[in-house]
Amino acid sequence: MSSVQHSPDAALTLGTARDAHRIRPALWYTAALALLALLLPFLEGVPVIGWLASPFQRIQLTYGLVFSIAALAFNLLLGYTGLLSFGHAAFFGGAAYAAGLLVKYLHVYSMEGFLLAGLTSALVLAAVFGSVCVRYTRIFFSILTLALSQVLWALALKFFWITNGTDGLSIPTPTLLWGLVGTSGDKVRFLSFTYYYYVLVIFFVCVAVMGVIAASPFGKALQAIRDNEVRAQFVGIGVRRYRWYAFVISGAFTGVAGALFAPLNGLTTPDILHWTFSGKIVFMTVLGGFKSFIGPILGGIAYNYLETYVIKTTEYWQMLLGIILVALVLVMPRGIVGVFAWGSRREQRNR
């Protein structure tokens, strides 16, 4: 009798359904944090948190929010559907490049134009890549997503007369809201205030929509497929089709993040199409904790700070990221969220 093999991380994930209750108070923290984020630009003079409200820090946070969207979208696949993609750079970078090409060839400078182009290109790419990739799971899925995304990277690198090769495409400050908010002269002011709010709102929308998707019957079906493909089939779920839906949705949201990234960075280089960038998205997600919904949000923001501040202090930030990742996998597979959950459990025990 070959009984069902429980992988030991089943034990790790025992908490998931229960944590939902415990995290209820976390809803209040979340609301407080959201409020803080909304008021941030006006808190520059406040003693303790003033430093966080500086234009530089707000731009950093904007980067963090953009990465968070990408990580959340990625986690719809990894955490919810059980598919580890090493090719999400294709959707992020693809969308950013769509914005860049829009500027270069059609001279469009509207952010909504960027978003539309980014979303569309990510959708198309994800639909095509997905139709190929979802035939596989596990390691082959990872390698296939990686290989396909590398095609895009190679094209961006080699067709330099279109993409400017390694120099990349520059993206000027766009107009927002169909031109209602024009381009002001001060780029820092634009990015740290106007664009900060723009990204914040889209971030909230994306989090809300993805949150609903994750908790929808569809989201439950994805989790069922992740847990047990055969049984999912035997409750009547079209496994491959649902994987494809998940892939496309995930790619589309990653595309939104990529489009938001383009003007923030001002430049799209092949770096954001390379598979190591996919690896960074993976890193953010695992850092935050891929076994929970909010983990990737924390991961995206934390990653950006890590990159910004560690790069400043050491030339060897990659090594540090690597060490953190190895440590996460070996001793903290539930990421930052896991640490919080562990802390609160200790707290409860102490009481």
Binding site: V4, R231, A232, Q233, F234, V235, Y245
Partner: protein, 248 residues
């Protein structure tokens, strides 16, 4: 006409003929037990009927429609559900979500992408009711992986039951469970099946259980049907006793 009618089913694995020319039928609301020693082909037969395996030869008709080559999803839509001998659940989902998922899938609501599962009151209530029927209501928010073996077996059956099938195939619903628990499980299962008027095929070793609940017993041996009849007929059948003892 029978609810399910299989004719001349054959399935080989390498050189072993796991199912070797089996005719098998189930009437509406009938509870059929499938018995036989190890390797008799019972699980393979269930796998053929449920669509996990495709037969090498033979045909299967359900409600007069040929389903021999129909994919699993469509068989479920037609009304055939099954449970598994080795528990097969969504381990990280709560007991409630396990059952609720079957309900969503049955109702076609798994397509709802932008509606909270929690908002579907009907699904929630029905799922809780099913959990209650199977004595699992206290464990509704426990992830399936955290349930005891007996509870997992029950939840496995509950998933199939929640699909509101016309025919339910239960592959050893009490295997791997302690002696004390198995009676409880079979009682619960048999009562629910009969209360709903489902037809059921139960693979079971416990002859007491089989004799108590079955309308009809089909005895398999080495891939073939050896004997078939009411519990009384089977009890009296010499061949059955010898096959079970292994003299054959």
């Amino acid at each position: 006409m029978p609810l399910l009618f299989a004719q001349g089913l054959r399935k080989s694995f390498g050189e072993t003929r796991a199912v070797d020319g089996v005719d098998f039928l189930v009437e509406s609301e009938e509870l059929v037990s499938l018995v036989g020693s190890n390797g008799a082909g019972k699980t393979t037969l269930v796998n053929l009927l449920s669509g996990l395996l495709v037969p090498d030869a033979g045909s299967i008709a359900f409600q007069d429609a040929d389903i021999t080559a129909v994919p699993v999803r469509d068989r479920i839509k037609a009304g055939i559900a099954r449970s598994f001998q080795l528990v097969n659940l969504f381990d990280q989902l709560s007991a409630l979500d396990n059952v609720r998922l079957a309900i969503f899938s049955r109702d076609g609501t798994t397509r709802q992408v932008l509606r909270l599962a929690e908002r579907n009151r009907h699904a929630r209530e029905e799922a809780l009711e099913i959990l209650r029927d199977f004595g699992l209501e206290d464990k509704w928010d426990t992830p399936a992986a955290g349930l005891a073996q007996g509870e997992r077996k029950l939840l496995d059956v509950a998933l199939a039951y929640a699909l509101r099938p016309k025919l339910i195939l239960l592959d050893e619903p009490t295997s791997g469970v302690g002696t004390r628990e198995k009676g409880t499980i079979m009682d619960a299962v048999a009562q629910l099946v009969q209360a709903r008027g489902l037809a059921a095929v139960i693979v079971e070793h416990d002859m007491d259980v089989v004799f108590t609940y079955s309308h009809r017993i089909v005895m398999m041996h080495q891939g073939k049907v050896l004997a078939e009849g009411t519990p009384e007929q089977i009890r009296a059948d010499e061949r059955v006793a010898t096959a079970l003892l292994g003299k054959a």
